[in-house]
Symmetry: C2
């Protein structure tokens, strides 16, 4: 077949990744053959094997193209608690509005079996978790320093709690396609999670 120019080849590669993400998110990673991906992208398996070593390699490319969902460092305005809240809100905004991100996370959280070559990917995810924990811990430390929360709050514990909350929230949000239980209320739930930590300055009326 006629050789493509470098730019064309890059386009082909990109198209393959794009289609792989779609097919993965529809049929699951294990169930999709490279033939399916190739057909969807309008090429043959030859093209796929040219650009990627195997399905695991292609899967990595899908992940890399979307990148990480949330970096707290991106948020600069407001106090530490507000920045935490903004980060969580933003992650969900991306899931809702960015089809690529939504599909990628759908694959990673519901359409993939972390086994064999993919067992390593799970460790990657946990490493990304460590980053989340580091950033969140720093923000909670700042919140303590600035007396946004009581001095008894343990930043590490709070960060771990937020991490669990975040992981479950993303996973449940994706599954809740009907939208009743989680999706429609999720922003308020996030606010609840963060704001309930904030030191209340008004006196609780009936507290001793």
């Amino acid at each position: 077949m006629a050789r493509k120019t470098k730019a064309e080849a890059a386009l082909t590669r990109h198209r393959i990744v794009e289609c792989a993400r779609q097919v993965f998110s529809r049929d699951g990673v294990t169930n999709t053959s490279l033939e399916h991906v190739a057909k969807e992208a309008g090429v043959t398996r030859g093209a796929v094997y040219w650009h990627f070593r195997d399905k695991a390699d292609l899967f990595m490319a899908v992940r890399q193209e979307t990148g990480i969902l949330l970096r707290f460092g991106d948020f600069k305005s407001g106090d530490a608690l507000r920045r935490l809240e903004s980060g969580l809100h933003e992650a969900l905004r991306r899931l809702a509005e960015d089809k690529q991100a939504r599909e990628t996370y759908e694959v990673m959280l519901w359409k993939c079996e972390y086994v064999g070559e993919f067992a390593g990917v799970r460790k990657d995810l946990m490493s990304a978790g460590t980053l989340f924990l580091t950033e969140a811990t720093a923000l909670y430390e700042e919140a303590v320093r600035d007396k946004l929360v009581g001095p008894e709050l343990d930043p590490q514990m709070a960060a771990r709690e937020t991490f669990c909350f975040y992981a479950g929230m993303i996973k449940l949000w994706l599954a809740d396609e009907g939208g009743q239980a989680i999706r429609s209320e999720i922003l308020k739930v996030i606010t609840h999670h963060i704001e309930s930590r904030r030191l209340r300055r008004r006196i609780h009326p009936k507290a001793v």
Copy 2:
């Protein structure tokens, strides 16, 4: 082959389910063939197809044999917040000590692709979630009535937050085999999650 007695047949069926769980949790649902399961159970595919319609059916049996991980109704002692905490603790205790439960949840949360016949299972999981939400909401309502928490706490929101926290916690606990980030501290994190809601009776020293 010689026909088995009813009791023997029941044993065979049970052995197949048991082995299916193990193999699923090792190799992932999609990757395991019924031949693998059969061999592990010391039978042929004939036996598997006799007891189960197909792999999805077998998977359902695996789920059913383990049952649900957490019912708040099982906890009777202590105030509402303590019962919430006990429930969450108990779920983790089971994961840690009960190999069967651990394997089943490992399969459901990390080694299964919710696609095709399995898409329905995901809806089941979300329905189980509705039950969780109902029970947790009731407990938070009780906590409000008993003034364990401030009157501004919205039981529904708190329940949803706890649900997300719970879902993420289970998933992360399973993945954190090293034990550093999550496993070793998880009981404290749970306590943190629940107790931080409790109305503090001592006055915060420097709060206005």
